[in-house]
């Protein structure tokens, strides 16, 4: 197991109260697999992704749990040790390529910098930067460009080039295609796919479940700071168990049918004061239908059950009593 996250909890200590950004999150990432986290905005998927390399932006704090990377707890590591893992064994690509590059430095220097911080000497780093640029399908002269001279897609390629600097064991991609158009999105996905072919495990975050279905081996669904369902892509798409996952799968618009987009009624809860019991129950269509669920879903949080091999769900509808 490459990465094991156990009982992770991240709170944001804001002036208007404690926001429970993520709670009780446990999962693992295998070597060479592509796992995708899906969920709405504010579901905690990005929070968890950042917590994995202990980069939760302030005022967030990791309050519980451990993150075992190759058996070592990243959250208990000395900053210097962790620094050596960041960028080398675990790389990250961010959501907005417009702001994730330093506006004052040439992109080539930024790729070189990524290697330099881990002790690669300048000449070698420059040489490698050229090779990497070729890998992400950008002409070599782009090294001398400043970020503002590049388009969004080109900048995201640069971000990926930075992430590729060391052929990392894990790539965390936090909605890397959200700010891009569909064509460019596809090209970026191809690049990430190539990294996977070279042995990098992909930890992908998106709100787009159809994008998740396209390339991932497994899908994890998050809602209101909790992991509600996790399984192989096939299990999640063909046989979604959690009512929220089902709604997500059904909400994908179908180009060939004239039916309306099926949105999920209601809004994600305020995580300063999450609903009692199952956090989805106020929006859950099944809870509304079945009277016998009263006193369960709205009182007690569900346990996570393995319904079929590798397919886990946290919902009162499963597991009998």
């Amino acid at each position: 197991m490459l990465l094991e996250v156990k009982n992770l909890g991240v709170y944001y200590y804001t002036l208007s109260g404690v926001v429970r950004g993520a709670e009780n999150v446990s999962f693992s990432v295998r070597e060479g697999e592509w796992i995708t986290f899906v969920g709405e905005s504010g579901s905690g998927k990005s929070t968890v992704a950042h917590a994995v390399i202990n980069l939760v932006p302030s005022p967030g704090k990791i309050v519980t749990g451990e993150v075992l990377f190759q058996g070592k707890n990243l959250l208990a590591m000395k900053p210097e040790e962790l620094r050596k893992i960041r960028g080398k064994d675990i790389s990250m690509v961010f959501q907005d390529p417009m702001t994730s590059l330093d506006p004052l430095r040439k992109v080539g220097d930024q790729i070189v910098e990524a290697m330099r911080v881990h002790g690669v000497d300048d000449d070698e780093a420059r040489q490698r930067a050229k090779e990497i640029l070729e890998k992400v399908n950008l002409p070599a002269d782009r090294l001398d460009y400043y970020p503002h001279q590049l388009s969004g897609g080109q900048r995201q390629r640069i971000s990926i080039a930075i992430a590729m600097a060391f052929n990392p064991k894990l790539l965390i991609a936090d909605e890397p295609t959200t700010a891009l158009d569909v064509i460019v999105q596809d090209a970026i996905m191809d690049l990430i796919d190539e990294m996977k072919d070279e042995g990098t495990s992909i930890y992908f975050v998106t709100h787009d479940i159809s994008l998740a279905a396209e390339r991932s081996d497994r899908i994890a669904v998050m809602y209101a700071g909790e992991l509600v369902e996790i399984g192989t892509t096939e299990q999640i798409i063909e046989n979604p168990l959690h009512p929220y996952t089902r709604a997500l799968v059904e909400s994908v618009p179908d180009l060939w049918k004239e039916s309306e987009v099926r949105a999920i009624p209601g809004y994600p809860p305020d995580l300063r004061n999450p609903p009692s019991g199952c956090r989805f129950h106020p929006r859950c269509p099944i809870f509304k239908e079945k009277a016998e669920l009263k006193g369960r879903c709205d009182v007690r949080g569900p346990e996570t059950l393995e319904v079929e091999p590798g397919h886990f769900v946290a919902c009162h509808l499963y597991g009998g009593a």
Binding site: P57, S58, R86, T99, S100, D102, P103, V117, I162
Partner: protein, 282 residues
């Protein structure tokens, strides 16, 4: 090269504030040239006492002579050295202390930040001239002590600006990205945050230099900077002031106008840069 380009380009560009910038640069460069070339362009020894006292401006003495018969023009030229020296040392010190403290405070936050901010805010809340006077009195009159007194007063200005900018830059994605590639905190401050704060420092620098000039002039007017007979604008203003009513206006007028022009020159550069970058300081 980039820095020179950066300095020259705005002078040529037709943009709002160009007039201000050109005028300010000319004034400041003239005074700097005066200071550097003083031994060559000064017609008399500025401390030479002469027979010819209270001579009005003439071809022989372009700005007249003072109560001791010293040539005012030569004293103005040599006096530019003292004021520039004091202001340069003072600003260098303020920047050398204020900028790193602001970076550290903004970047790390927490208790250090609260303590530093409290100290800086309390310094800031004093009227700057009064505080500089108190420090200069304690340290004793000498140009270097004046510089220290002035630098103390302006440290909070740099600190607050840099801290504020660091706080907002710290939350930027590219800084987080820098951490994600394993960059050390010290390098993040030096390579990622500082360069992005530089434009702000530049504006604060030009605006506070203008202020520092007035403070220096004020201190030496009060006799807290140089000892006679060293030529100094603020002190000469002080010397000339009692003779103003006797009609010997040139004693106080020329040092006064020079102080004003130099302060204005820097203020104009500052305003022009501020307008360009629209940082909204002040």
């Amino acid at each position: 090269m980039r820095i020179i380009d950066f300095l020259i380009k705005p002078l040529r560009e037709r943009k709002p504030g160009r007039g201000l910038l050109v005028f300010g640069v000319i004034v400041v460069l003239t005074v700097v040239a005066m200071a550097i070339l003083a031994p060559f362009i000064s017609p008399y020894n500025p401390t030479q006492i002469g027979e010819d006292i209270f001579a009005p401006p003439s071809l022989k003495h372009p700005m007249g002579t003072n109560n001791l018969g010293q040539d005012v023009f030569s004293r103005i030229i040599w006096g530019s050295r003292i004021i520039l020296y004091v202001v340069a040392v003072a600003t260098t010190l303020s920047i050398a202390i204020g900028v790193p403290l602001g970076l550290l405070s903004g970047y790390y936050g927490g208790k250090t930040d609260r303590t530093l901010s409290m100290i800086m805010d309390s310094i800031y809340s004093f009227p700057s001239l009064i505080l500089a006077i108190v420090i200069a009195v304690v340290l004793g009159p000498s140009p270097i002590n004046t510089a220290v007194a002035i630098s103390f007063v302006y440290v909070p200005t740099y600190f607050r600006m840099v801290r504020g900018q660091t706080l907002s830059l710290k939350g930027q994605l590219f800084v987080e990205a820098a951490r994600a590639i394993g960059t050390k905190s010290s390098e993040i401050m030096r390579k990622y945050i500082l360069p992005n704060v530089l434009p702000t420092i530049l504006v604060v620098f030009t605006l506070s230099v203008a202020d520092a000039i007035l403070t220096e002039a004020g201190l030496s007017f009060l006799g807290l900077s140089v000892t006679p007979p060293t030529p100094d604008w603020g002190y000469d203003l002080h010397v000339g002031q009692p003779f103003l009513l006797d009609g010997y206006w040139w004693l106080a007028f020329f040092p006064g106008i020079m102080i004003m022009l130099l302060a204005m020159g820097f203020a104009m550069i500052g305003e022009a840069i501020n307008e360009r970058l629209s940082l909204g300081t002040r």
